[in-house]
Amino acid sequence: MNRSWIMRGAPGRWMLALGFFTVASVVLIIPLIVGVLWSLVDPDAGWFPPAIVPPSLSLANWRAMLAVPEIGQAFAMSFLIAPIVTALCAALALPTGYALGRRQLRARRTIELLVLAPIILPGIVLATGLGSMFIRLGLSHTVAGVVLVQTVVLLPFMIRIVAATFEGVPQDLIDAARNLGASPWPLARDVLIPLVRPGLFAGGLFTFIGSLEEFVLTFIVGMPYVQTLPVLLWAYLGGRSSIFTYAAVVTMVLLVPTIILMFVAERTLKQEYLAAGFGKV
């Protein structure tokens, strides 16, 4: 009985896995390989069709790029802004997520829509609107301005995830804490926040990476003084010339820490989820 089920299920599963792998490799892995190859192209030989791989490889682009102070500065700027944006989003998403996830709000749908509005609006519309406003407020060309504008677009994701996590907290746990003498602040500190920590982690990761790769708003609000890695990337890819080789190096500089971060976060997240698992209820 069991065996025949496996026999029947197996081809279907294999097909699914194969399909998934194909999509993943087309969308993710092949561009990644192409990116790595571009960063290693020998500038003297170049890489032109119909060659599938560059005729010769070298570290010349890397040497040239790492010699420019800009890339180090952009790296530092990116990794300064991302944690601040993440912390700010977390701090703002906690109360909002609680209200949306746990309170019986009459206007809940409307509030949710408003919260999501920055995602629904095209980035460029938001950028031009906020950009002119930020100039008047004196926030343009400042790190604070970039942090704020990134928070505006990334907060909705954070709120969604945190609200969903709040929704999943069993009411009995909150009741038990109150029953045992927890007034609102200790209730939040000792029970609610630890229980939504997996959501905060997941949302934080999303926000961190979102901040690292955010371009439109950072460019419009921050230029020319605040230059993050994506803005630097544009300098090599935008405008009239596209210097693929340098752009590829910047991409790798942006990508490698992000991937490492993903792995570390995934590990911790798993532990967190286990610890917060609501047990045998």
Binding site: L173, D175, A176, N179, L180, G181, A182, L195, K280
Partner: protein, 349 residues
Amino acid sequence: MARLELRDITKRFGRVAAADRVSVEVADGEFLTLLGPSGCGKTTTLRIIAGLVDPDEGEVLLDGVAVQHLPAHRRQTAMVFQSYALFPHMTVSENIGFGLRMRALSADLIRQRVGEALALVELEGLSDRYPRQLSGGQQQRVAVARAIVTRPKVLLFDEPLSNLDAKLRERLRLELRALQQRLGVTTVYVTHDQAEALALSDRVAVMFGGKVVEIGTPRQVYRTPRARVTAEFLGVTNFLDGQVAAVADGHCIVQTPLGMVEADAGLGVRMGEVVTLSFRPEDVRIGRYEGTAVTGRVLHASYLGSVTDYVVESGGITLRVHEAGGAARAPGEEITITLPATAAIVRGG
């Protein structure tokens, strides 16, 4: 330790009254059970005592002081939840110490009291485990320890045994009762399990449709129920309509289609009144004894182990009869049964 009193507690959810003028007094150290089917308002009543639900009307008094306006965290009640509601991110000892930390006791005192509580529920070795690493029975004990460690004025239980298997449930039932008696803490216990209610309680309050229909000792509510719903809910029963033929000394004789049956007349029955009698299957004896004996025919027999459950038809009326012992009577067999020496008069539809 405290005396708890509910006065005319009413709570409506929309149009439905979950609790409808509930008035109950629980004496110091008493174990009171709220018994009823799901949706009868027993859990709502319990949550009102804990302050987790605000009543629309009525008062909750602890030692004569109205507490219904106090928020839950200042009620000094401790509740054991059906789901146990253990904090998944805390170890056993952190869970148990939670209430003490909220009361800002010193770390030393917390450690000492948590240790005592762990010993009381026999979980000494498990203090560093997480709830998900415990069995259902162990989780239940942690929940009990977490509740009693704060030395609450009133201990509240919301169907704490319903997620356990039958054997364990019975054992923990005995332990709970022993623990409550040792601590002498005023306790309100909610269950839909009549055996649990009878075994644990000093008194049982039977609830239906948001109302307390009857309060009494387990013996009273089982043997001499006043309400038809009580008799029906607490196990199997026989109803028999009849007319009061004589009243004297708090007793009366009721003329039923099967003959005369004596009943308790505590409710002030009048001569000639048509009443419903209730008596338990184990009160009907097979064979001819003193009292009213009639002949009947066995319709069904099911062997339950400790007793055999018979459905007996006599004069167009079917009765449930329980007989202990090994005698096996086959369906269709003619038998003589003796009606109980005394029955209860029940009221209500």
